[in-house]
């Protein structure tokens, strides 16, 4: 059977966590594979430490709406556990949640971690990844977004080699150390999702 050539993704996180870098890699890998892409981003005031999301749509056919319709997302990819839940109404019944378990606490009423993780694990088809631990293992705690991209790559309709190519394009200008850390972060994330 030919793989499905359409995928709607909600990328979630907090302003400054690097979800637009994740989007950049997915966009360009998809463009290389000849897919249509629409990717809606959040700019401006909301970026200041607030909840941010990006709607990423890939398809072999023309895409109409820039926004993913609620109930149609195939995946929620979140670099923060509370943010993974914020967009649950976008997920289709058989969709998956791939989320980091590392909280970004900048609000006074952040939920209890155990309650939050239990809630996440209770959602069918959820992969929870300790992105902080794996990022440190990869050599830089700033690669958590790439760890999560690696974890999500298991479900993406894109070829892994194309994702890796654009990780190189994105991080090579920032030096070998940063590039190596991100390549390793991707691999560790990927393996964590396979478990």
């Amino acid at each position: 059977m030919k793989p499905k050539r359409k995928q709607d993704i909600i990328l979630a996180g907090v302003g400054g966590q690097g979800i637009l870098s994740v989007a950049y890699v997915i966009d360009n890998a998809a463009l290389k594979e000849g897919l249509f892409i629409k990717q809606a981003e959040v700019h401006g005031m909301a970026q200041r430490g607030g909840a941010v999301q990006s709607h990423l749509r890939l398809s072999k056919d023309r895409i109409w709406s820039d926004l993913v319709p609620r109930g149609e997302a195939d995946m929620i990819l979140s670099v923060e556990p509370l943010e993974a839940l914020r967009y649950l109404d976008y997920l289709r019944p058989e969709g998956v949640v791939v989320t980091s378990s590392t909280p970004f606490v900048n609000i006074p009423d952040y939920p209890d971690m155990e309650v939050l993780l239990a809630k996440l694990r209770s959602i069918r088809g959820t992969i929870v990844v300790d992105s902080e631990k794996l990022a440190k293992e990869a050599g830089s705690s700033r690669t958590q977004n790439t760890v999560m991209l690696g974890a999500a790559s298991k479900f993406l309709i894109l070829r892994q080699e194309n994702l890796l190519e654009y990780i190189r394009v994105l991080f090579a200008p920032r030096g070998d150390l940063i590039l190596e850390a991100n390549l390793k972060a991707f691999e560790l994330g990927r393996r964590a999702a396979e478990l």
Partner: protein, 531 residues
């Protein structure tokens, strides 16, 4: 095929470059900032045109108008509320007309993602009786911008491109065409551009007389696509701009597809609307922003024998942006099944000042200085510091429009508020605060103006500020604030007591005082280190 991934804003910018742009001007404002950001980036490499941030939108508009007068092609871009600031030259530019192609790109922000109000710039286009394009996707944003320059030169009128947040900040692939070279210098005719009453009457008559031609242009435009389904006379849909995407998202696979008219230009293509309305019993109008098309159709008495539905009938919401879901309900489809978080309490995460932000230290000092006063108020303005409204600061009580804090503090002081404090950023002060301070200084109003000089336009991504550093101090002195009541503080936690004391002393002075709190934006400092 040369496919490029661009933001909607960037597609407008590229369209302008390829149309033979000579100069572009703008003031930063979400969601329009990325138009100029892109132009600045390209201009640095190619040097083929000028791309420049301006002091405010009115100035930007006038700079662009000067380019058009000189016979060259000009783009001016801004957010919706920026056009309020530029409304004066905008309204009169419909009389002067354009000499070199003149295109105004305005980005509206329905749902107020990063704005103080929701307004629909199509009404401004209608108000000035100029032509307006409303793209529904990235390719159209590029193509329409190119066509806007042609139309502007053919008919000698300013042309508007109306964008909305979801298109401005969405990324997609576009195919671009061959670039065209810029125009040579050829000055406009003085009787067209000198709006003395005698000339202006002639020019106003001209724009009135052009209307029929503009409607014909819309009737003939392929962007206004009419698809009649002879088998479905039940429903017809008029969908404008990105609302068209939401309609097609829900109906592109439908068996009994309704007839659909896509509206992409204004004035409205009357003939096509007549055909669609004649064909269907129920007409749904889907448009982003205010119900402009729907109201035009409805008039005072509705359309005889037709069921007209949309925002005015309650089938679509009057406030906030449209979405695939709300349009889905309006076209009578069942909602898709959705996952729910159940009883889990989802804590909100509003935007907030960054850790260590200089504004936070200024607010802490200000709050300390105001302890014990019962009739005090802090008037604030547009920028990151508006976030001082939220806990733990709860430091500011107003935010209306660019520069409003200064004038409001003067009015508040005159109404009996004491201390009457205004808090404004350096760029916002340069944009619209200077003239208000001139008034407050002339009257020696008993108020304190605090200018937060973080050396940049932080909220919109770090564009250059014109009223910062030494120049800012000279401006303050230049508009007549006594030198002994201009204070400079450095907002840092270790200076909390000292800074609060400075503010207290200036509150005690029974006249105008200005305190400048200088410390660079952390985000900008970080970006500079990266570069």
């Amino acid at each position: 095929m040369n496919k490029e991934m661009l933001l909607g804003d960037e597609a407008v910018a590229l369209g302008a470059i390829h149309a033979g742009l000579s100069a572009a001007y703008s003031y930063p404002g979400t969601p329009a900032s990325e138009i100029m950001e892109y132009l600045v980036k390209v201009a640095q490499k190619s040097r083929g045109f000028i791309a420049s941030w301006s002091v405010n939108e009115k100035v930007a508009y006038e700079e662009a108008l000067g380019v058009s007068f000189a016979g060259k092609r000009a783009l001016v871009s801004m957010k919706h509320v920026g056009l309020n600031v530029a409304a004066d030259p905008f309204m009169s530019s419909s009389l002067t007309g354009a000499n070199g192609g003149f295109v105004l790109a305005v980005a509206d922000d329905p749902s107020m993602h990063s704005s103080q109000n929701e307004q629909d710039s199509r009404f401004f286009a209608q108000f000035a009786q100029i032509f307006c394009f409303e793209p529904s996707d990235h390719q159209e944003a590029y193509d329409m911008t190119r066509q806007a320059f042609d139309l502007s030169e053919d008919m000698n009128i300013p042309v508007m491109i109306r964008m909305v947040t979801r298109l401005s900040h969405s990324r997609s692939g576009i195919t671009s065409g061959e670039p065209r070279r810029p125009n040579d210098l050829h000055l406009g005719a003085r009787q067209c551009w000198t709006l003395l009453p005698a000339n202006a009457r002639t020019r106003f008559r001209r724009i009135l007389d052009l209307q029929a031609e503009l409607i014909q242009f819309s009737n003939a435009s392929a962007f206004n696509r009419l698809e009649i389904n002879p088998k479905n006379t039940r429903l017809g849909i008029i969908a404008a701009g990105i609302a068209y995407n939401y309609v097609l998202e829900n109906l592109h696979g439908a068996k009994e597809k309704p007839s659909i008219l896509k509206i992409s230009t204004y004035p409205i293509a009357e003939d096509k609307v007549k055909t669609l309305v004649g064909h269907a019993e129920t007409i749904l109008v889907a448009e982003e922003g205010y119900p402009l098309i729907e109201r035009s159709l409805k008039g005072l008495f509705g359309v005889a024998g037709k069921n007209l539905i949309g925002k005015l009938s309650g089938h679509l919401p009057l406030s906030g942006e449209l979405s695939p879901e709300v349009v889905r309900t309006a076209v009578d489809l069942k909602p898709l099944p959705q996952r729910q978080t159940g009883d889990f309490k989802l804590a909100g995460r509003p935007p907030q000042l960054c850790q260590g932000c200089p504004h936070a230290d200024t607010f802490n000092a200000l709050k300390k200085a105001l302890e014990g006063y019962e009739r005090s108020n802090v008037f604030s303005d547009i920028g990151c510091y508006t976030l001082g409204y939220y806990p733990p600061y709860n430091a500011v009580n107003t935010c209306v429009c660019m520069g409003a804090s200064v004038g409001m503090a003067k009015g508040g002081a005159e109404a009996g508020i004491h201390p009457s404090i205004a808090v404004i950023g350096d760029s916002t002060f340069g944009h619209s605060g200077i003239t208000a301070l001139l008034g407050a200084a002339a009257f020696n109003t008993n108020m304190v103006l605090i200018i937060l000089d973080n050396c940049t336009v932080a909220m919109t991504g770090g564009q250059p500020s014109f009223a910062s550093g030494e120049r800012l101090l000279k401006i303050i002195e230049g508009v007549g604030v006594p030198k002994e009541h201009i204070q400079v503080i450095e907002p840092l936690p270790k200076y909390l007591e000292k800074n609060a004391q400075v503010i207290k002393e200036e509150i005690a002075h029974p006249g105008i005082s200005v305190i400048v709190a200088v410390r660079e934006c952390l985000e900008e400092a970080r970006k500079k280190r990266k570069r």
